[in-house]
Amino acid sequence: MHAGRRLFIKGGIAFVALMSLPKALLAGAWPQKAFQSTVAREALSDLFGTDQTTPSGEITLGAPVIAEDGAVVPVSVKTSLQGVESISIVVEKNPRPLTISFVFPPETLPDVACRIKMAETSNVMAVVKTNDGIFSATKEVKVTIGGCGG
């Protein structure tokens, strides 16, 4: 068989194998234990194996100074840090502090936005995991009407 054709077929088989890898490999299973944790430090340990984060000025955490409605608080996280693997948000005073975790490959930009619930005024921490370590930025968000429905 012509060498080029052999290489093409090998490449084709590798491609198909790669494409059939389960999606779950990117992020793994839903991190139940971390989401059920009632203490911010424990949630971080459950998710990352450590509760230590390095504050970084390269993380821009967008959140309102005052959230009128704790049921819908817009939050954005952007960073110039390199090699970002995930961006998570921890709301210190929520009954379960770990709120959301974005996990993504290198071609996805480390710039995400979402809307979260906050039970009461609290520090909101953006946690950025890179291949160099775990970094964070924190902002206090005041909440006038709590959003957990209790």
């Binding site: 839903w30 959301i100 996990v103 993504f104 979402c114 957990c148 209790g150």
Partner: protein, 104 residues
């Protein structure tokens, strides 16, 4: 059945800016029904996956504290017109929904 997911993508060169809004009650499991006084059971999206031509470009793991009718936005590189973007979610009751869009 029509999907309850809206997916918007803007192509800026090879960067795709993605915005998605989906209907879901995102019940925390802590709220009391005002009429029956019973606790409304938790019902929330757990994991969402966005794929670009079959490859995951974003996975979002959610707690009950993601707001009702979740909204997400993010961007990824390497996109071209004609590419396929999908978003799918599963929730704690095993329900799911998904939608596919062709970029361009």
């Amino acid at each position: 059945m029509a999907s309850n997911i809206k997916l918007k993508v803007k192509l800026k060169g090879e960067v795709a800016e993605v915005k998605s809004l989906m209907l879901h009650p995102m019940e925390t499991g802590a709220r009391k029904d005002p009429d029956s006084e019973d606790i409304v059971p938790a019902h929330h999206i757990t994991q969402l996956t966005f794929t670009h031509n079959g490859k995951p470009v974003m996975v979002v793991n959610c707690s009950t504290a993601v707001a009702k009718d979740p909204f997400f936005s993010f961007s990824f590189k390497g996109a071209s017109p004609g590419d396929k973007l999908t978003v799918s979610w599963v929730d704690n009751k095993g329900e799911s929904d998904s939608i596919e869009k062709v970029l361009g």
